[in-house]
Symmetry: C2
Subunit: 396 residues, 2 copies
């Protein structure tokens, strides 16, 4: 097989039994619509989330974990579709840097997602059919507003920390700007205050790959019991390259051949890197909705935190009392250190409380998800220090 | 319109009238098959080429220009399909660095191409139908062997210079290794002696985008009078990002909006970078055959000059008398300076005659095609110097 077709046909259009395994779910009634930046509102809104650890008596140990583009609420628990460990299992758990013995963690599936929170695959109450492209275009601000709505519902006034990488880091920054009084500390990791031209370009390629797939049906693929699996797989393959570094690809794969001694003079996956990428594409489509991919990439494209502040990023953080810790990775070319440093410089320009660490690694953007001891010790150190400032008792 | 569809339907599967406008064309009879690295042979073989300038009496002023992945023989003359100037018009012409008043230039469409030289869109004499995927998988070595066949036919024993960028640079290196006695000087620009894992990865994404398009028909789209235009456009869009630099994208586009004052909360091309990329995709499919894209990218993936020399690149150039001038560009991340330097180090390791220049520019890989005065003066200087060594009289 040279193409993606064998593994791409006649599959369900959504991950199976998502609703049944989405963990905690809250559906807000029509009396509590979610107002969006575009001017529209969504109702009813469902938010799916997971929690880890125990809330303390004065609710001072709560951390909100924000996930990235293709993440979900399963930061530290088994994924119900893939059966794999949570996407942040290296970092989150008993005794780990984000210590569930000490902190109460909340992780929501983002608005527009496909793991239980309202998104384009859900029924549009106005039509009784799945939203598809009638779902309103959402922003990072809308995602954060939905999370705040959930916290209100749970009776949580403020957060000890908001933490996340990549698009999760965008949410962290948005939280600190939109609700400064609710955010004691914030850890934006491998992120940016606005999406760059190159990153918009990669997203656009992914969206065009999805839209070029005839099984996309203009976004209305749900009734066809098909989905643009090939297009979504191509989008994922292209994106996946940007998550790694040239050095990591060279170290892991180089020009190694896949289960063969010599090139075959054909279009099979002769090279390990080809086989790896195809696998990334194949497996992704089993757990992700193509329209969610369109909407969430668009939310990232639109993110420009300084836009409402005359282009002066520092102004967004004026009078902020939040303690910030920025983290970047040397080989990350999707959200390079320069973008992360721009955030730190803006915070410094208003004398905010900010530290910043650049981690030396060849693992690229994905480093924030991987076993990176220096990164983990930075996080643990910051959370320990912030906990002292918060007056949280030491563990044990 | 959010997708590529409007401009992607019911177009001819090949550029119109290519055969009629391919410039010079030589078709070799069945008695002269082209033997390929894969073991197969192609016959008949047609090679389309353009020439510029005049050959001198002792045939000592001949330069072979080798084109890149999506280039063609129209280095310095109007493209018959697009009507645009030749792809190297900044460099090639009267009084220009590659001076047509002084040198006789030959530029062939590569084997596997779609501008007149035999490729997968041509008739397979064994079936009477277009080759499609029955076209044998070719290599950079095969492309160069076809060019040598043409030179033999034209009575040209040796070349004053072989020059090219990107895949053109691969051909330059292959020429110097396969036919050292025929190459007086060689200018490999923005290239590599082997294709990297990351570059194979980007090619694989492009190929999968093409193969995912149902109009590809397993490569047999020609009789359907369709072609995988959407898939090819997506492939081109992804590739195009790699030709630029993050800095150039930021400088040219940033987050500028396209003909609008505010974001539209939709999937239109709100951003200039989106509009630009879509345009790149649309226009490319009018002039390029999708199967050619598959075959030529594969040839690049397979390129590994040291493979036949026990992995020791220097050994490939042992006893070479060719004068080399390598050129790289600081912001080129597709063929970074490190890859070009690897070639220079290998040449140095066998005491070959080699100079090397890294050009400071933010234009990325595309810099080799653009108005880069420092690059042009380097080329002019090297060609002038090599001409003196060759005993070519100064111009004028």
């Amino acid at each position: 097989m040279t193409g993606l077709s064998d593994q791409s046909i006649d599959r369900p259009s959504r991950p199976a039994d998502v609703a049944a395994s989405a963990g905690h779910v809250v559906t807000f009634p029509d009396s509590q619509p979610l107002k969006l930046d575009c001017g529209a509102s969504i109702t009813p809104v469902t938010i799916a989330y997971q929690t880890y650890g125990q809330m303390n008596a004065d609710k001072s140990n709560i951390i909100l974990i924000c996930h990235a583009l293709t993440g979900d609420q399963y930061a530290a628990s088994t994924h119900p579709v893939t059966g794999k460990p949570g996407w942040w299992h290296y970092l989150v758990g008993p005794g780990k840097p984000i210590d569930t013995d000490r902190f109460f963690l909340i992780c929501t599936n983002v608005l527009g997602g496909c793991m239980g929170t309202t998104g384009p695959a859900d029924l549009n109450p106005a039509t009784g059919k799945p939203y598809g492209l009638s779902f309103p275009v959402i922003t990072i601000g809308d995602m954060v507003r939905a999370q705040a709505m959930l916290l209100d519902h749970l009776g949580i006034d403020d957060l000890f920390c908001v933490i996340g990488g990549s698009m999760g880091g965008m949410q962290v920054l948005q939280w600190a700007v939109a609700y400064p009084e609710r955010v004691f500390s914030a850890v934006p990791i491998a992120t940016a205050a606005k999406h760059s031209a190159q990153n918009i370009a990669f997203h656009e390629v992914g969206r065009q790959a999805i839209m070029a797939d005839p099984d996309w049906h203009g976004g209305d693929y749900y009734p066809h019991h098909k989905s643009p699996r090939k297009g979504l797989a191509v989008a994922r393959m292209a994106a996946h390259i940007t998550y790694l570094s040239e050095a990591a690809l060279h170290r892991k794969f180089g020009r190694n051949l896949q289960d063969r001694d010599a090139i075959t003079y054909g279009f099979d996956a002769d090279f390990q890197i080809e086989s790896y990428l195809r696998h990334q594409g194949f497996t992704f489509v089993d757990r992700f909705d193509a329209n969610s991919y369109l909407y969430i990439t668009r939310a990232m494209d639109y993110f420009d935190l300084a836009a409402d502040y005359g282009g002066i990023l520092g102004s967004a953080f004026q009078h902020s009392a939040t303690r910030f810790c920025g983290v970047s990775f040397t080989s990350d070319w999707l959200f390079p250190t320069s973008e992360n440093r721009t955030i730190v410089h803006a915070l410094n320009s208003v004398a905010a409380n900010v530290s910043f660490v650049e981690i030396e690694t060849d693992k690229g953007h994905d480093a924030f998800l991987l076993d990176e001891p220096e990164f983990h010790s930075v996080l643990k150190g910051f959370l320990d220090g912030a906990a002292i400032h918060r007056g949280l008792a030491r563990k044990g």
